[in-house]
Amino acid sequence: MESNQLRFSILTLGAGGLLALMIFFNSQLAFTYSPIEASWFAHGVGGFTALILMLFIQRKSNSATSMEKAPFIAYLGGIPGAFTVLLAGYTVNSYLGLSGTLALAIIGQIIFSLVSDGFGLFGLSKKKIGLRDFASLLLITGGSLLIILASGDTL
């Protein structure tokens, strides 16, 4: 169990690394096109890549996809995801700039996750935030905000 948790944690950390790479390429895309067009391309390319990966996985193991019914709302993750592009385009061009937008997005995510975990929403198991978790939250959030805000709009 404990070593599994470590494995999942490392995988999550790796996802964050992929996110940074994705943003790096997508910002070049947004430089060539408009932000919304860039996001449109990225979603299209991403959709086909994911589809190929999905078919490949299913071919390898028959039981990969369970027949369990998922709630309808679970299929709609792409909607808030796509809206963030529009919203970010709006706030980046305000006095918040890029660094302010990133900083507030981090705080918004933390608040949302604390509520989800704290009340056990969306099928998550209810978690109590201990002192150790809280210290970890403050350090990671604080460190990230420090880097982002110090970089200002040179980021």
């Binding site: 890549t49 994911a50 792409g78």
Partner: protein, 143 residues
């Protein structure tokens, strides 16, 4: 103030997208979640572009092909993210993704040791790594 609320809402939407994809991953699998996420987003953006920005998008053929790589990386990112979401929980997922993202961004951009920013980057990274240690290394007392 409105902008600040919009900025916070943006973060909440990012977290919501992650949460919904995680739900689908539990019932189906992570690649189904990633595929659905991308095609639903693609459909919505298509409608928005059609209504407010005007099609057709002109393809820029001079640009380097590598700029389209972000989409492919995104497919893997969303899949991994959806897979781990329920295993580590919402808060830990945000914190570890953020850590990985900040560390990688600094690696991509490189650091300038002579700039004033360097001190902030080192301090920030130190805090992130300390926070990661606290989050991952659990105290020994539990058996």
């Amino acid at each position: 103030m409105t902008m600040i609320l919009l900025g916070l809402l943006n973060g909440a939407l990012i977290a919501l997208a992650r949460t919904l994809n995680g739900m689908l991953s539990v019932k189906k699998n992570a690649f189904v979640a990633s595929t659905m996420n991308h095609f639903v987003g693609f459909a919505l953006l298509s409608v928005l572009i059609f209504l407010f920005f005007g099609f057709p998008t002109e393809l820029n053929l001079d640009a380097d092909f590598s700029i389209y790589l972000g989409g492919a990386i995104g497919a893997l990112y969303v899949a991994i993210n959806s897979f781990v979401f329920h295993k580590v929980g919402a808060v830990k997922a945000v914190l570890l993704i953020l850590s990985g993202q900040m560390i990688t961004s600094i690696l991509i951009d490189g650091v300038d040791t002579s700039s004033k920013l360097f001190l902030y980057q080192v301090t920030g990274l130190g805090m992130i790594i300390a926070g990661m240690y606290l989050s991952v290394a659990k105290p020994r007392k539990e058996t």
